[in-house]
């Protein structure tokens, strides 16, 4: 590995500039840059990177094709395993997946697989390469609940196998967290819309404003002739801190804050009908992608001092590395080992957050050092606080489906074929695992399509 060139940095918008807009931060590689970075891959015989990708994208192959200028084929190679390359290239936690395992990472820096995947994905999107003939309908109706990455991947796979697929979405727009959660400066919304249009072109039917369990129950879907159902309803319900003052005005859950901004377009203030009220001093609680997104969004909406309160240390932050760097570049202050214990207000509007200083103890079940209280406290003046400490599934489907087994925290229980306790009903994505990642949800949707296909084939073999 002598004479190895360093990893090629992706061009970015300057921090001072991007703090005032919602345009994408990472600008991506040009073809020349992509090829330069692609040259760094040593084309391992037993590629560790592929093993570490949840959907086993054939990484050395697509990189080789890129180098050979066979871009169409390169796209197809990725698309075989991952129908959302433009999205995953941007939002996968590469450092703990593909890139984290890349052999080059042992002595130097890993290949920038994410940026390469994004480049090839965007190329394919521009050339409409995903628009391919699909088989005619086989007349068997299947229903997909939720239009997040799990539902989209499931629907695409089933449609390609010939099924007549309908996606039911509770909100007025499709894409799940990709639309209402992850901000444009990380994932421009036209990319998500493009993926949804691809599915429409394939003949997938989309029904919005349909809350399964309420508008139609799972049983009613069966009565209507849907022979198998996939539940990909995500983990939308925000967890609370459980401390005094949490219901004061000015205290947001990240979901409310981000939904107001992304789905309801509050950033077009003062023209938005669903605005978001934000003062100068904003605290964000949590250390994941959601917290980083909330903090960076607050900054872009004009908050002067935005700081993150996280009860563990820097190396335990679960957010993508890129996002932590970007947040710091944008002037967001990380206040580590600090745990909010009380919110106080005036006239029922939040004004202060009291935090307890924490120290690190023994590793806990997650392998990270457990944060321990020290009995020392600090208080900060704030105008808003945004809570981003995790999500669990909402109870609507669980409460309205007889015989559907769930975990105590609300997750749907599935067997090794991803079937739930209700025959013919499958599930995958955040609703099964709890809040996880786009690629895991997508993979679960795709795998479930395979199991549903097997199930339906068996069923029809038995009856014919």
């Amino acid at each position: 590995m002598k004479n190895m060139k360093p990893r090629l940095k992706v061009r970015e918008q300057e921090a001072v500039e991007r703090n005032n807009n919602f345009l994408e931060v990472a600008l991506g590689y040009s073809l020349e840059e992509a090829k330069q970075e692609a040259l760094r891959c040593i084309q391992c015989k037993n590629p560790r990177c592929v093993q570490a990708c949840p959907v086993r994208v054939k990484i050395p192959e697509f990189i080789k094709l890129l180098l050979e200028d066979a871009l169409d084929e390169s796209f197809e190679t990725i698309y075989d395993d991952n129908i959302l390359p433009s999205i995953c290239g941007r939002v996968c936690p590469q450092e703990s997946q593909c890139e984290g395992a890349c052999i080059l990472g042992i002595k130097a820096e890993p290949v920038n697989i994410g940026a390469l995947e994004r480049f090839v994905g965007d190329y394919g999107m521009d050339k409409d390469l995903a628009d391919k003939p699909v088989p005619a309908s086989n007349g068997i109706k299947v229903a997909v609940v939720g239009s997040g990455p799990a539902g989209l991947a499931n629907a695409a796979s089933l449609r390609r196998k010939g099924y007549d697929v309908t996606i039911f979405e509770a909100l007025h727009d499709y894409g799940g967290v990709l639309k209402y959660g992850i901000p444009d400066f990380r994932l421009p919304k036209d990319i998500v819309t493009n993926e949804i249009d691809n599915l429409k072109k394939m003949g997938v039917t989309f029904v919005k404003n349909a809350v399964i369990g309420k508008s139609i129950t799972i049983d009613q879907l069966k009565e209507e002739g849907y022979e198998s159902i996939f539940i990909g309803s995500g983990a939308g319900l925000p967890s609370s801190l459980g401390i005094p003052g949490e219901n004061l005005s000015g205290v947001y859950f990240a979901n409310e804050f981000l939904t107001r901004v992304n789905l309801m377009k509050a950033r077009a203030v003062p023209d938005s009908l669903t605005p978001v009220k934000l003062g100068d001093n904003v605290a964000v609680v949590g250390g994941g992608n959601v917290a980083m997104d909330a903090a960076r969004t607050a900054k872009r909406l004009g908050a002067k001092n935005v700081f993150i309160l996280y009860r563990r240390d820097r190396k335990s932050l679960p957010a993508r590395l890129d996002e932590i760097h970007h947040a710091e570049e944008e002037g967001i202050d990380l206040r580590l080992l600090q745990n909010p214990v009380e919110l106080t207000g005036e006239d029922r509007i939040v004004k202060q957050v009291k935090v307890e200083i924490m120290k690190l103890g023994e590793p806990d079940s997650s392998g990270r050092q457990r944060p321990l209280p020290t009995g020392k406290y600090k208080t900060y003046d704030i105008d808003n606080i945004i809570i981003s400490i995790g999500q669990k599934p909402n109870p609507i489907i669980k409460d309205n489906t007889a015989g559907l087994d769930t975990q105590p925290w609300g997750g749907i229980i599935t067997d090794e074929y991803q079937m739930t306790s209700v025959e013919g009903v499958f599930a995958g994505g955040d609703v099964v695992t709890g809040a996880a990642t786009v690629i895991l949800a997508m993979g679960a949707g795709k795998d479930a399509a395979h199991h549903m296909d097997e199930y339906l084939k068996n069923k029809h073999a038995r009856t014919s």
């Binding site: 508008s215 219901n247 939904t259 009908l273 009220k277 509007i349 909402n394 109870p395």
Partner: protein, 272 residues
Amino acid sequence: MYKIVDKKSYNQDVDWMLVEAPLVARNAKPGHFVILRVDVDGERIPLTIAGIDGNNVEIIYQKMGYSTKLLGEKNVGDTIEDFVGPLGQAAHIRDKKHVIGVAGGVGSAPLLPQLRAYKEQGAKVSVILGGRTKDYVILKKEYEAFCDHVHITTDDGSAGQKGFVTDALNPLLESDDTIDHVIAIGPVIMMKFVTEMAKKHDRSIDVSLNPIMIDGTGMCGNCRVTIDDKTYFACIDGPDFPGEHVDFDELMSRQNFYKDEEHACKLRLKKQ
């Protein structure tokens, strides 16, 4: 897109509308609500389902601000962009003998299907309909069709008794031992006072809470309310709750948090 099948006005501020929405109509029960967006840039606003007629859903709305006024500008044959439901928990119809409903203004709309359900279950039902003036007492005829007693109060005395709903409720709770349950639906301040009165007279009470909502599926947490020191999401756990332990002051404060911004929207409506 959801077609407006029929529409009428009760007074200059309150309309009734019938909207074609089979996916809402199918499973709707008393106490459920919808969330609608008038047009593609619209905000999501919650309205109670006032009744069901085949595939059509009845709503009754007061033109309070920008979105409800915009809705009021729509006519029969026009369409509404989004209309989702039935959301929330259906009203819990308790085992009671004599129920008195107390409605403030447009609260008489959500109250109607609930009181009807009590009547169908064999309970005696009375109602107090309160409004600013005679014009704001709506659905009187509909209530008269099935209620054992209909009492009217207006702030100015233009119909029924002059005063607030509580002025009519107090003597009834004092004199009529058979009344064993109260339901109050209307402005929060009214529900707060009716709850205090019910508590004083040792009667159980249900109220219908109306915090600001966005998604209505338990995702945003905007709609949280405190009951007996515990947090609930009104869109999935409610909107109906036993009144006794509701933190009404918190609800009022949370409702008012966007007052200035709503005012800005109204100004825009005037400019147009």
